[in-house]
């Protein structure tokens, strides 16, 4: 993985010192809150309901075990013993004292981490496929390009005060596991017929109050033009994006109001002036970054097949976990392991300091010192020998992280919601916990099959509800929580925005409503291979409306 050079270290240390001074001046009263707020946000410090919140960037979701250990140390020393992994592949701590933040940032800097650009109208953490460098279906590892984008966008003077925040995601496989079409820019790394690497480029995807699917504006951008082309997009957005209305300021609105073709022509014109500038990526520099992401040397472990076969015979639970949480690796002796942070009845994405240390330990012993954070709020060990899977599984059981539910209805994305968040209108976590508990039987979940359920506690859609096969949006109506259901959303290579199905449900009705939808699906699917999403796309909302609202639906 990428290691800081001397410049990176000096830069991050300087920022820590600068912010430590700003915090001191705020606490002494030298800076007012109005002066300080933009400064703290630039360093990832938010104020939520109960306390401050610190958001730490995890570039493209890749963590070294020593970084995970430091996060555990921070959870234990400065927070309340746990952290929350987010849909941006970041981690948030919910209880730090402002006076402790400089010490936390100094600890993070020791392991090459920081909180820069985790807030504000700038280019945020660049996200990537969590199986990058491991997936069997991958054309090339997208992370070197994500790292190039990270370096280029860090305190970029031209793009630090954009009309609104800006999110970029990169994938290196046809199967989109990075939800690239829900980002301001989505990049699909692929090869052309000549075997050269380049990107299909999508712009204007986004969720929030106006969900939009990204539009493809280029089918193949040669890789050396990555920065010049992205700069052209950002320049057009910076110039033409709306600054008069916060709710219309994202690039998706510009794309929508201008028209994809017209906007693409503006970008093209801007790019023509840039493409042969210093932004053209020198081959040597790309190679140097790629070297940081060289795959680990994976020794042959052909005994894996026998080991797995025997272990499956021995343990049904292991066999089920293997079927659900283990993904094919490009090396047949190895596998990628999804560590579910969605234990039945648990808060999605929350993990304790002890669990973080245990995962770091597993990564050191069995996974070539790599851990990934997924946008679905799970962790991944990307390179585990199949021969070691049973050992890894047994250790995960020991720390309560072996739930075999990846991709099932209890593998829920949920934002922090009204239990923590100052923007939320309704709670998300308890709804996720109740649904998870209702469907606690893994046998029942396997019968239901893949079903992506996503919950947001407000219209900002941090819980990605628009792209859930079933989405739940919490709103406040007449002082009470109300949950609206959307159906048919998806965040993969066939991204779609879900349809609002009808009137909302109260907190004591929503779990029953979800169960009704699931039972309706089971009753009308052709066979087990037809997933919930496939059925919805085949039959539309009518049978689901009928099941939820009965006569009311027929009258409407």
């Amino acid at each position: 993985m990428y290691r800081y050079d001397e410049f990176d270290h000096e830069f991050v240390q300087a920022r820590v010192a600068q912010f430590a001074d700003q915090v001191e001046r705020r606490l002494s009263g030298e800076l007012t809150e109005d002066q300080f707020k933009p400064l703290r946000l630039m360093n990832g410090v938010y104020l939520q309901l109960h306390a401050y919140m610190l958001r730490i960037a995890i570039p493209y979701g890749t963590l070294h075990p020593r970084q995970l250990r430091m996060l555990a140390h921070i959870a234990r020393t400065y927070d309340k013993g746990y952290g929350h992994f987010t849909t941006r592949q970041n981690i948030q701590f919910n209880w730090p004292a402002l006076s402790d933040v400089p010490a936390i940032l100094a600890d993070l800097a020791q392991v090459e981490m920081h909180c820069i650009q985790t807030s504000g109208n700038c280019i945020r953490n660049v996200t990537a496929d969590h199986f990058a460098g491991a997936a069997a279906d991958e054309v090339a590892d997208p992370r070197p390009y994500a790292e190039i984008l990270r370096q280029w966008s860090s305190v970029h003077p031209e793009f630090s005060y954009l009309p609104r925040k800006f999110k970029i995601a990169v994938t290196g496989a046809e199967r989109d596991r990075a939800a690239i079409k829900t980002h301001d820019i989505g990049l699909h790394l692929k090869r052309n017929e000549a075997g050269e690497l380049g990107f299909a480029v999508y712009v204007g995807g986004g969720l929030g109050r106006t969900p939009m699917v990204g539009k493809k504006i280029r089918d193949f951008l040669p890789q050396e033009h990555l920065l010049s082309y992205v700069t052209a997009i950002l320049r057009v957005y910076n110039l033409h994006g709306r600054r008069d209305n916060k709710f219309k300021a994202r690039i998706k609105i510009l794309v929508h109001e201008t028209g994809t073709e017209e906007l693409a022509s503006w970008i093209e014109a801007e790019w023509q002036a840039l493409k042969d500038s210093e932004l053209k990526l020198p081959e040597g520099d790309v190679a140097a970054i790629k070297a940081y992401f060289a795959p680990p040397e994976l020794p042959a472990r052909p005994e894996g097949d026998d080991a797995v076969r025997l272990a499956r015979l021995d343990s049904r639970a292991f066999s089920e976990w293997l079927g659900q949480n283990v993904t094919t690796h490009r090396n047949p002796d190895y596998a990628a392991v999804t560590i579910s942070l969605k234990g039945i009845g648990e808060a999605p994405g929350d993990v304790t300091d002890v669990q973080m240390e245990a995962v770091a330990d597993l990564a050191e012993r069995y996974a070539f010192e790599e851990v990934r954070v997924t946008h679905e709020q799970n962790l991944v060990l990307p390179h585990v020998a199949r021969a070691d899977l049973k050992t890894v599984y047994d250790e995960l059981v020991g720390i309560g992280l072996a739930t075999a539910n990846a991709g099932f209805i209890s593998d829920i994305i949920a934002c922090p919601g009204l239990d923590y968040c100052a923007l939320a209108n309704a709670r998300s976590i308890p709804v996720a916990q109740q649904i998870s508990t209702r469907f606690s039987s893994l046998e029942r979940q396997r019968e239901i099959g893949e079903l992506k359920l996503k919950i947001s506690g407000c219209i900002n859609a941090c819980g990605h509800h628009h792209v859930g096969h079933i989405g739940i949006l919490g709103v406040e109506k007449k002082g009470a929580e109300l949950y609206q259901i959307t159906l048919g959303g998806s965040a993969d290579e066939n991204t779609s925005v879900g349809d609002i199905i009808g009137r909302g449900f109260g907190p004591d009705e929503i779990v029953d409503a979800i169960e009704t939808l699931v039972e309706t699906y089971l009753a009308i699917r052709s066979d087990r291979s037809e997933r919930f999403l496939d059925v919805y796309r085949r039959v539309g909302p009518a049978p689901f409306k009928e099941a939820l609202y009965g006569a009311e639906a027929r009258a409407a």
């Binding site: 705020r26 007012t32 809150e33 309901l49 109960h50 209880w95 009204l418 239990d419 002082g479 929580e481």
Partner: protein, 99 residues
């Protein structure tokens, strides 16, 4: 009926205003029952901000239920207690310790 709430500057702790100071328990919060009392609370909030003791000052609606101060909005009830999914966190955890 209204009370004045904020987060303490140094650590973000949820606090309420009572008799010239910021306290950590809603049960001690000073209740304004008329416009004059509300104005006095607002003035205290402005002083708290100016003196760099608190941030995010807000006057919130409450009622008295069984003798206890009960915010009308769920958001404020959660601030007064802690996350509803973790009763070992926030102010509700301290009550348990005391009990």
């Amino acid at each position: 009926m209204k009370i004045l709430t904020a987060n303490r500057l140094s650590d973000g702790e949820v606090v309420w205003f009572a008799n010239g100071q910021w306290v950590e328990s809603i049960s001690q919060a000073e209740i304004a029952e008329d416009k004059a009392a509300e104005a006095a609370l607002e003035a205290a909030g402005a002083r708290g901000l100016a003196d760099n003791l608190v941030v995010d000052v807000d006057l919130i609606d409450v009622e008295i239920v069984d003798g206890a101060t009960h915010p009308l909005r769920l958001r404020e009830r959660i601030r007064a207690a802690g996350p509803t999914n973790r009763n070992d966190l926030g102010k509700q955890a301290r009550t348990q310790h005391a009990a």
